[in-house]
Subunit: 119 residues, 2 copies
C-alpha cells in the first residue's frame, strides 16, 4: 500500500522521478523510482536523512516549532521532503523544471494516508 | 548597500520578518530584522549555516549539482535560503502564512545585486 501512494505522488507530479518513505535512521520502508540516469536516488534520500535530523534538532533548540517541510533545489534536481512523524519522512525528487507546487500539494495531501498506513 | 537590498526583500515579501547575508562560517555580513517576539533570528541563521554546509557537501558528493535554494517550513516560520557563492548565502525568515512564492522570487531577483555588492 505504501508503494501505491508513492507511485501516485511521483506520477501525479509533473517531472517526478522518485519518492521514498524513510526513517530518520536512513532506512527506507518503501520507494518508487522512475528510471533516471547518473544518480542513485536512494543514496540521495539516505544522505538527506542525516541532514533532516540536524534540521529537526535545530528547530527544537531554536524554538521555531517542529519541522514540517524542507525543499532543496540544486543545479539538477529538486527534492521536497515532508515530515510524517517523529520517526518517518517522505522525500520526493523531481527534475529541476518539475512542478514544485504540485509536488508540495501532493505530499501534503498524501501525508495523511501515509501516516495511517504507518500506524 | 547590503542593508538596503535586505530591507527591500523583507518589506517586499508579505509576512517577511528578517533577512541576513551570511557566510557559511556563520558570520553575518549584514542583517535587517523587523521586531519579532520570542525568537533570535540571528541565531536561527547561524544554526542554519551549519546545516547548509552539510547540504552543500552532500549535493557535491551525490553529483546532483550545486545547491541553489533551500526552504524550511516549521510550525511557526518559513525560512528561504539562497546560495550566492561558495562562501555566502542570504536567508529570509517569514511568518508561516507569509508569501512563499514572493519570497523565492525576490531572493532570486536580488541575488544578482547582492553578488555584485559582495564582489
Amino acid at each position: 500500500m505504501f508503494n501505491a501512494i508513492l507511485k501516485t505522488i511521483v506520477e501525479g507530479t509533473g517531472g517526478g522521478i522518485g519518492a521514498v518513505l524513510m526513517g530518520y535512521d536512513g532506512i527506507a520502508i518503501e520507494q518508487h523510482f522512475e528510471p533516471c540516469e547518473g544518480i542513485d536516488l536512494h543514496l540521495v534520500a539516505v544522505e538527506y536523512a542525516n541532514i533532516l535530523k540536524e534540521i529537526k534538532k535545530a528547530a527544537v533548540v531554536l524554538n521555531i516549532g517542529f519541522m514540517e517541510e524542507v525543499s532543496i533545489r540544486t543545479e539538477r534536481f529538486l527534492v521536497v521532503i515532508r515530515a510524517l512523524s517523529d520517526e518517518y519522512f517522505v522525500a520526493l525528487t523531481l527534475k529541476r523544471d518539475g512542478n514544485f507546487g504540485k509536488a508540495r500539494y501532493l505530499l501534503m495531501k498524501e501525508a495523511g494516508s501515509l501516516r495511517e498506513a504507518l500506524a
